[in-house]
Amino acid sequence: MTLTADVLVVGGGIQGCSAALQIAQRGFSVILLEKNGVGRHASGVNAGGVRRLLRDPAEIPLSVASMEMWLRIEDLVGADCGFKVSGQVAVAETEAEFATLRARAEMVASLGYAHEELIGRDELYRVVPALAPHCVGGLIARGDGFASPYHTTMAFGAAARRAGVRVFEEVRATGFARRAGVWHVDSSAGKVEAKFLVNTGGAWGATVAAMLGEPVPLEAIAPMMMVTAPVPPFVEPVVIGVGRKLSFKQAPNGSVLIGGGHRGVPDLAGETSSVDFRKLVISAQTVATLFPVMRDAQIVRTWSGIESRMPDDIPVLGPSSTEEGAFHAFGFSAHGFQMGPVTGAILAELVADGGSNFPLAPFRITRFRENASVAASGQ
């Protein structure tokens, strides 16, 4: 049986649910297909950081706008999503790292943004008293924070449903063809016809893009997390490493979430991933060094999730270069969670208005081919 809608969204992570919601709010009928369950992969199992700090300059305008939406998240999705403004702070362990942070702060200020603030040693230890004593300073975004990733993604999914989006889980899109201005999409449950196609496939986004004739060099990665049993409160902001891979925060229930970049082993075809304990040993060493108080904390669980990474670590976001009426938003490179609200707004603009007020040029899907041809012509 064929279902029809104005817009078909493929992928039920936070980007897809946010897009479906905000497109539906513009008065379009929307179908969302999710091959597993809403929030099953990166959107549901990430560290939950709601961070503007240390973003790629191209992402800053979007991230700043997204933060405005986070502050009103309950108005958008009808749930608080566990969002807390705790601050996020990058910690310099050496003078060289501190110099990097100073240069960064100056660059951000020169762009006209004020959310990143360089702090010296005294202020760093006032903000994070439990840090080991060797640190020299930091860069803080006091308005950043964290949220509960699974609850957030589910809240976006539920809000989309309430806005009239038909959400089909465990249904896989398998083929795309555009005829006479209409997308004909095959799925494991039947055919869908829609005027617009939105690809929010996450780690599988490149698979969809390739089916539209525009392959991109996406790398599947499996960021890892560890969580400890609850310990007495000792750290308020999210702490990020500069010279080492670390993201560290204490949840409201006292458990400590440790992530930050060490990667496990993704299995894109099997749609699963596994942790690599050799690398988690390094994570544990980092934590034990920076937070001696954590040595006796019990690690109760570790996990990894499948995420996508683009070569330049920023997403593909914007219209298809090969097909009319198709838009992409994937490849968020392990920092897309905070961008969920604004991504949905941008995709709604693209669908409804045919363009966006945000500077999307850096995220165009053709950029990898251009670089390849530039490199080739440079010979």
Binding site: G37, V38, G39, G44, Y150, H151, M154, G157, A158, E169, E170, T228, A229, V265, S274, V275, D276, F277, R278, L280, V281, A284, Q285, V287, A288, M294, R295, D296, A297, Q298, I299, V300, R301, T302, W303
Partner: protein, 472 residues
């Protein structure tokens, strides 16, 4: 793979002891890893040296328990490497045919990494959770936990109520009687329908070792009657009462409401395979509709779906201690074939007696499995009953999230934190899967089970940080 063991055997119960013994006898490089301070597993816990140490207790625990002494003696004779008090907290399966499996374990706050060409998982069974109202109160125990006190500390509970069904419940009652303890009552939850379903399998149960099991079971029940222990039959609606601890137990017997005063209640509704390790490795599991549990899929030799990972004993389906012992030797014979020590014919010859022995001990299972099939009220408890004890999630909360679109146990975990506490879902996993299946109107096999996240048991940040992985 230099430095790798030919086999790491996990669990020193009957299957693990038998497997390690045969492998050591054939000069394989084998290490037996176990959490307990002494070999024997749950069934033969503390058996080594008990004849000298506590002869009366040894006598009271009976001849089946005494068999464990022979098994442990044989294990010691062949001198397999043995690491007691060692907790396996992660197994990373080999990612190529030439690579080794990695077994991460902790002992006394220090972790180390072993490499193994084969892993024999012999972690056996765990008691099926019995979520009745009040099961989280102090004074409510499992029959198995009472047996642990009995075997390892020689503590004999006075005035206990035993409630549920299954061989272990009656065995425990018999052992307590033999030690002179008073038993307040046995509440038998076996339904009439179970007896009718089991009857059809009685002829098969008389074959092999089955007849012996039946005689033992009847003798136990007779002994309880002779001792004047009140036995209530057709028991339903068990609820443990009390505010800070159990003070009373209420129930219906043949539909009639009754209660008893009790401060210690041993609950038991049979045992199910311990899935934590095999799930975390990624072995395929089957739903066993008769035994009403998930179990690791294996072939006749114990090979799981993961190459080089074998499952021996109750982890691959409940068969009891003697069947597990045979399965341990069968798996060891297969490991010897995998190592090239034996060819297929050699393996077959080596395992022939054990294959026959296992079949003989399994003959009674179809009868027992139906007779002691767990009651629906235990599998899918009422809304008010606590299901996840660690995170305090009720059955009603689980049913509620299904209405919100939760499809399976892993989503329930994300919604409610069910299964995320210190027991890591061991206690609530089976119940949560059942509840979701019921609420969705599908089979348990369709909703599946928790993904098991390592570490299997908690380790400290400091212990992980101190782990030397450079040489491994």
């Amino acid at each position: 793979m230099t430095g790798a063991y030919d086999a790491v055997v996990i669990g020193a119960g009957p299957a693990g002891l038998a497997a390690a013994t045969l492998l050591a006898e054939r000069q394989a490089r084998v290490v037996l890893v176990d959490e307990q301070p002494a070999p024997g597993g749950q069934i033969y816990r503390a058996v080594e040296g008990m004849t000298a140490r506590q002869p009366e207790l040894f006598e009271a625990l009976g001849p089946d328990y005494a068999h464990g002494d022979e098994l442990v003696t044989l294990f010691r004779t062949f001198g397999a490497e043995y690491r007691s008090q060692s907790t396996v907290w992660q197994i990373s399966p080999a990612d190529g045919s030439d690579a080794a499996h990695e077994v991460w374990l902790s002992r006394g706050g220090r972790s180390e990494l072993l490499q193994a060409r084969n892993v024999v998982v012999a972690t056996g069974a765990m008691e099926r959770p019995v979520p009745v109202p009040g099961w989280t109160l102090p004074g409510a125990m499992t029959a198995g936990a009472v047996q642990v006190m009995l075997k390892s500390a020689g503590v004999v509970p006075e005035g206990m109520v035993l409630a549920g069904s299954g061989p272990l419940l009656y065995l425990l009652a018999g052992q307590c009687l033999a030690l002179g303890a008073r038993i307040t009552a046995v509440l038998d939850t076996t339904a009439r329908a179970n007896e009718q379903a089991a009857l059809r399998h009685l002829p098969a149960a008389l074959r092999g070792a089955g007849f012996g099991y039946l005689v033992k079971g009847l003798a136990l029940k007779l002994r309880l009657r002779r001792a004047g222990v009140p036995i209530f039959r057709r028991v339903t609606d068990i609820a443990l009462q009390g505010t800070s601890e159990v003070t009373d137990i209420s129930f219906r017997s043949r539909g009639r409401p009754m209660w008893l005063s009790a401060d210690l209640v041993a609950l038991h509704e049979g045992v199910i395979p311990a899935q934590q390790i095999t799930r975390s490795i990624g072995c395929v599991h089957d739903w066993d509709a008769v035994q009403h549990c998930f179990r690791a899929c294996t072939d006749a030799w114990g090979n799981s779906s993961v190459d080089g990972v074998l499952v021996a004993g109750d982890g691959a389906g409940i068969g009891g201690a003697r069947a597990a012992e045979h399965a341990g030797r069968i798996a060891a014979a297969e490991v010897l074939r995998r190592l090239g020590v034996a060819d297929a014919a050699g393996r077959d010859a080596l395992a022939a007696a054990d294959l026959r022995g296992r079949a003989a001990h399994l003959a009674i299972r179809p009868f027992l499995d139906r007779l002691y099939a767990p009651p629906a009220a235990i599998l899918r408890p009422a809304d008010a009953v606590m299901v996840c004890r660690c995170e305090e999630v009720t059955a009603g909360a689980i049913r509620g999230v299904v209405q919100q679109g939760c499809l399976g146990p892993n989503q329930a975990k994300s919604f409610l934190r069910a299964g995320m506490g210190p027991c890591q879902g061991r206690m609530c996993g089976p119940v949560v899967s059942e509840l979701i299946a019921e609420a969705r109107g599908v089979g348990v096999e369709e909703v599946g089970y928790y993904r098991i996240r390592p570490p299997l048991k908690p380790i400290t940040v400091g212990e992980l940080a101190a782990l030397d992985v450079s040489g491994a």
